[in-house]
Amino acid sequence: MPIFDATTLPTLVVSAISLIIVAYAIISVKRGRGFEIREIPGLKAIDEAVGRATEMGTPVVFTPGWGGDIQRPTTIASMNILSSVAEKTAEYDCRLIYPTHDPVIMAVAQEVVKEASLRAGYPDRYRADDIFYITSSQFGYAAAVDGLISRTKPASVFLLGTFEAESLIMAETGNSVGAIQIAGTDSTIQLAFFIVACDYTLIGEELFAASGYLSQNKSILSSVKAQDMIKILIALFIIVAIIWATIDSTSTWWRY
């Protein structure tokens, strides 16, 4: 039995190129080269959202959606934003409610919020009971979060993570109570719902760039820069393939 599966060669080549680019970006930063990220309105509005909730004396609701589990990059990206939001809520002494559909996410979120409260200098403001598991049922979860939003009337709602059909149900409920809403997900279908129902939407890679943007950690920023370099390569590849296919319509090498 061969060790290497030859059909995965194109994936291996692309992965190797991506790894080299990420390594190059990290090394560049370590040698003193700085990278900057453009302003992302959705992330800039986090302060405003938490500040508004504090002034109004209402809680902040943060939901990671129903569709994902902890190993999804979207959930990990959402945890990075949760960390910053939790730091601010601890600083302003504002209540943060985090209902989840997955007990593993609940455990990780509790640790993230606990550490963020500690980092803010207010470990006593961490409330473990406000980060809780509801149900793994999609519409059971949607109904519970809707009920929570309707009863507590939060000033700010964060919808960041993996969402499916429940996205618009939650976003419209948040809209109906007048909450400022910041949303982001990796589903293009749900993004369309968020754009019409929420005040700020993190589109595409903005959600994944959040941790670098919020922490200004140079290593993380370098990986975001690497992401842009890979995107330029992909764009060049697409342009070459379009020209090639226009000249020689029988050629299919670019399909791999």
């Binding site: 990796d186 890679e205 975001v224």
Partner: protein
């Protein structure tokens, strides 16, 4: 040590899962399915933690009279369903299945059906032609909506062609651009976690 051991485990697990994808060797598949089995076992145990936290939270809320009726109903449901399953089984005609079919399924359908009304209210707000991009969105949406209903075909076939064109070209191009960004973002996030650059999951350490 408290940080290094989880980072090493994360790196090894990530590297193994990455490399096994490129191998046809039976051992790679065994490792892959073994890791997935372990994930299921860990998840099953964390479910106990989740349910325990749910019960604790519910009891505390009832004792503080905070959302007590809602918590009482959810706790009653949580306790009732396993009891019914243990007494009458889960076969056709059992009390468990009766409750599922006549209470849980209709309630879920009700929440799902709310989506129709929410789509209408969100569309009403989204389609206000206050700016040029909003006007373009409105016109495109009208063409797509008309192109998707049978009555429009009786008037002219153009609506259907326009709807397909909008969906297959401008809409698909925008969607693919977003998908490329999402794919690359997912990949670099995964790489950051595997290489130990991203450490939020380690009690928020960065």
């Amino acid at each position: 040590m408290r940080t290094k051991i989880p980072l090493a485990i994360c790196f090894l697990s990530g590297a193994i899962m990455f490399l096994q994808y490129f191998s046809r060797h039976p051992m790679a598949k065994t490792v892959y399915s073994g890791i997935l089995d372990w994930w299921q076992i860990i998840f099953a145990f964390t479910l106990f933690v989740g349910v325990a936290a749910f019960i604790k939270n519910g009891v505390k809320s009832i004792s503080r009279r905070n959302d007590a009726p809602y918590k009482a109903v959810s706790l009653a449901g949580l306790l009732l369903m396993p009891i019914l399953a243990l007494i009458g089984g889960v076969k056709f005609g059992s009390p468990f299945l009766w409750v599922f079919d006549n209470m849980q399924a209709p309630m879920q359908s009700t929440v799902f059906s709310l989506l129709a009304f929410f789509v209408a209210s969100a569309s009403f707000r989204g389609f206000r032609a206050r700016t040029i991009p909003a006007a373009i969105l409105l016109v495109s949406a009208v063409f797509v909506l008309l192109g998707r209903i049978p009555i429009a075909d009786y008037i002219t076939q153009s609506f259907s062609s326009a709807a397909f064109w909008i969906q297959d070209y401008p809409s698909m191009a925008a969607r693919r651009a977003i998908l490329i960004g999402i794919g690359l973002g997912s990949m670099t996030t995964a790489l950051r976690v595997i290489l130990g650059i991203e450490r939020t999951y380690l009690q928020g350490e960065r």
